[in-house]
Symmetry: C2
């Protein structure tokens, strides 16, 4: 959820529920030119990548990656993911994005292996679908946090 | 310069000079739907506003606002700017954006007074022009910083 996505739909407030906000942000993303949708993917960090190693992830990314088991990789797994992330980025020009909360370590590694073989159009579409899943889960979390504070 | 703008043009690297990068980012902004261009404006802080008072501006904004003399407002000036910022935001649904480096305190206050009378379409267009001026000056700074470190 880049600041621009949220800022672009904010004039439509108040939203009648999370789903409406989610749909507005999804529509905004879909209306972006191709380079903008690629840009959305580029605003996401590599899974188990540089930002994870240097502890520069957002709190949300850190928690999501940890839950997927990416905090406990063997050296071999870390090296496989690194190498696949690099191949993926070199081929498509944007990072591999997957909803870590819906996948465990093994599913993520097999997803990377499979998806790196796709064409760019398929991966742009798939990556954006994953972004939307991540977005919906984070929006739901925000609402739960809010309700627990009421 | 929201991260999404930079991320969206990064596949066009290498850029043959600042102007080319500036034009690519400008084109990306112009290609956004209206809500996206409004979103770009909403990613900018109010001049001499809440973020300045609580010291939450980016280093660039802080320096730009200070150079324009916005760090040394009289109580009366601060109150006028506050009130105009609020009227502007209430009328248009986005904040007043002006290239602070090209304007001093007095020009900014008279600009606010004049521009709050415009219609929304004019202000969206004017605000985006100011965003592009800010962007170009910041890009030039980045290049100078880089060259001074070489």
């Amino acid at each position: 959820m880049t600041p621009l996505c949220a800022a672009s739909v904010s004039s439509m407030r108040p939203f009648d529920g999370i789903d409406k906000l989610y749909f507005a942000m999804s529509e905004f993303i879909d209306a972006l030119p191709t380079c903008g949708r690629e840009g959305i993917l580029r605003c996401h960090p590599d899974l188990a990548g540089r930002h994870a190693k240097t502890n520069e992830l957002t709190a949300e990314s850190k928690q999501e990656q940890a839950k997927a088991g990416l905090g406990n990789l063997t050296e071999q797994e870390a090296s496989i993911i690194d190498s696949l992330n690099q191949s993926y980025r070199a081929k498509f020009g944007f990072p591999f994005v997957i909803c870590a909360r819906e996948n465990k370590k093994d599913a993520i590694i097999s997803g990377l292996k499979r998806r790196v073989e796709n064409d760019k159009e398929t991966e742009l579409r798939t990556g954006i679908q994953e972004v939307k899943k991540i977005m919906l889960l984070r929006l739901k979390d925000l609402m739960e946090d809010r309700e627990s504070k009421l």
